[in-house]
Symmetry: C2
Subunit: 411 residues, 2 copies
């Protein structure tokens, strides 16, 4: 069976994602699409707009057959660890290929880049170290080190965010020694970080989120950039849980956590390093919003996303000891189509890690973090809806779409 | 110099307190009144309605000359520890007497009770143990054990809340071996726990707080039970910090804290004993308000106030290691009249512990808890006012009332 894996966050699902899924099916000729999706907190250190359940539903309605959750230990991490975990989950779920979007769009060039970096690895690592010593962040140092390497026209530009992620997926497959084919689709129109709408139908998730939280709060603005089902699910979520989630909803909790903790406790948190704890505690006293806080704590040494991830770890109480050398130990099922279910019914007998569709009978340290972070995430719903959202972690069954439901999709 | 000490919370200051201060001056003939006042969190395990600064101002305007803060280590404690700390602070501040309100009103009977309990101590302790083993709370066991003792008509009824506190003050003076005279004034009209107004001018603080948080929120209702300055300060505080403080303001933080912690961390918190941590964590998932939470966790074994204090310790992250064998190590000055200042100018040279009127030059583990709890307390102000309230802990100077201001008081 030909199964392609995709690595997603769908925050929210939009037309660009639908395009990617369509092309992925076409190019790989896959019978089945499995997505591994970040849970409630994302790689850039942000709470997702909507819970993982709502986003899993978006994924299924958008053309994915099975959605597994990327455990927190991998999801709220720098690109390299994120990629390692995501690729491992897809491999363990039975995918024989992955397909990712990139600015480059050339699979051959990605392969060339991997060979090229391996060849120049010593120089590359030296240059990274050299730039870090000058006080820049790791991703910046990597991008600069890359530019220091001898010119080769076949390699992809590793200063572009989706190229970086794609490169990390390939490196992870290579490091793990997985037998998986790689495909890449050139991203259409929107730049990852675009804050403004620039096309008729494709917009970046960043610009869509910006519109959703704009003062006018005009849902209608985003209608042309997302499938109808996304639009419906966003509206429905707002009714069901009072609001969409943003960092500002969690700022009172983060501030409280920082004000009642001590330096030793804070230093036990993952990614709190090198005196950052003092900086975080003192600015918590003076910042009136999360945005204000981030601006105050930002230095050249750390990227914005690295600091946001650190804030997520503080918020969820993810300690250094919780985040050590993660290895995928389960497949947490968030949703499936009827086709997906057929596959899982057979696959579950041969999977070497448990497929978790009900939380109660399964427990380990890795899933404990998923549960804890989901509980904290629930406190970002409207005040009157938090208890309801809290219950979903244990009591929500995987989303299921029958053949009839998937057949009715327009494409 | 004849100085009387009073032990107060003023939550808020009302006519009963004014009456007590007037009688205390009359009976003791004191030249100066020093109050030791709980800070932002109170003995019954509740946040104070208004910050310690506002309540210190009420105290000065009500007739107190100097207000010192009772450190958190003593303030949020059972009666015995509370009394020990309060009496120690007053003694170290130079008081040669204390005067407390009680249901009994007879100083002679309090002395008789102290002698009586000392005489029957073995039996008394045995009976306390006996009742605790039957599963009742400590205060309940003490009250029952007291009733088991041979009858003596001179002793005071230790089932009454103010009698219990008074008895603990006397016991603390006796234990410490302090040379301090004791006076008690019979409380007028209102019972401590009264929830309803029953007199024309005297009402319990409980009934006043109830009126302040009633749905109608009618400030006018309380006007006849409090001095004008209390009424003004309450109104002013609401304007300045958005709202009065109640447990419900802190419920989201307590819930968050419980949802992101683990059992080991929770067991390190003061007063979290005997599997209480599991109970607290599981009910945090289901309770929609603090009141709802308290009702769910309440058992016969613990009193309501004991559980509320435990919740305060969780909220402020007060650990077992933070709360060990407290001894007063400073006098934190919250306010003084001109007369109070004259006294302190001389007294400061002979005090054997520092008088802290500015936080920055002084620091130890005991005051660290006062600071930390004040920071947490600030998060109970209206969202837009929290940063302002946070600043007061370090930047608010002691309240000062000049001779001219105190001279203008009606009584």
């Amino acid at each position: 069976m030909n199964i392609v894996g995709v690595i997603v966050e769908y925050n929210p699902f939009h037309n660009g994602h639908a395009y990617h899924l369509k092309k992925a099916r076409e190019e790989t000729g896959a019978d089945l699409v499995i997505a591994v999706m970040s849970g409630n907190f994302l790689q850039r250190g942000e709470p997702a707009l909507l819970s993982k359940w709502a986003r899993a539903e978006m994924a299924l309605k958008g053309g994915v057959d099975i959605v597994f959750e990327l455990p927190y230990q991998f999801a709220v991490q720098k690109a390299e660890t994120f990629a390692k975990g995501a690729v491992e989950i897809l491999y363990k779920a039975g995918c024989n290929s992955i397909c990712f979007g990139s600015e480059s769009g050339s699979t051959a060039n990605f392969h060339a880049t991997l060979r090229y970096i391996k060849k120049h690895n010593q120089l590359f690592q030296q240059q990274i170290k050299h730039h870090i010593e000058k006080g820049v962040s790791y991703p910046k140092a990597m991008s600069l080190a890359f530019q220091d390497l001898p010119f080769d026209e076949e390699i992809v530009d590793l200063s572009k965010p989706n190229n970086i992620l794609g490169f990390q997926y390939m490196k992870a497959i290579d490091d793990h020694g997985f037998d998986m084919k790689v495909y890449t689709i050139k991203r259409k129109n929107a730049d990852y970080h675009d804050e403004h709408f620039s096309s008729q139908t494709i917009a970046s998730a960043t610009s869509i989120r910006k519109a959703l939280f704009s003062e006018k709060n005009e849902m209608a603005q985003i209608k042309q950039y997302v499938p109808d089902h996304t639009f419906q699910l966003l509206t429905q979520y707002k009714n069901e849980f009072g609001q969409l989630h943003s960092w500002e909803n969690y700022w009172p909790y983060l501030r409280y956590k920082l004000l009642q903790t001590n330096q030793e406790e804070l230093k036990a948190i993952y990614e709190v390093e090198e005196g950052l704890e003092n900086r975080l505690i003192s600015y918590a006293l003076y910042a009136d919003s999360f945005k204000d806080f981030m601006k105050k704590i930002k230095t050249k040494r750390y990227t914005w996303t690295r600091l946001q991830r650190t804030c997520v770890h503080i918020l969820t109480n993810a300690k250094k000891s919780d985040m050590k050398q993660p290895k995928a130990s389960y497949l947490r099922l968030l949703g499936m189509t009827e086709k997906g279910r057929h596959y899982l019914n057979k696959f579950k007998h041969q999977s070497d890690i448990p497929i978790v569709s009900k939380l109660s009978p399964f427990y380990n340290n890795q899933i404990e973090l998923d549960i804890r972070s989901s509980r904290v995430y629930s406190l970002g719903a409207g005040l009157a809806f938090q208890t309801k959202l809290l219950q979903t972690e244990f009591h929500h069954p995987p989303i299921y779409l029958s053949q009839k439901q998937t057949d009715s999709f327009p494409n």
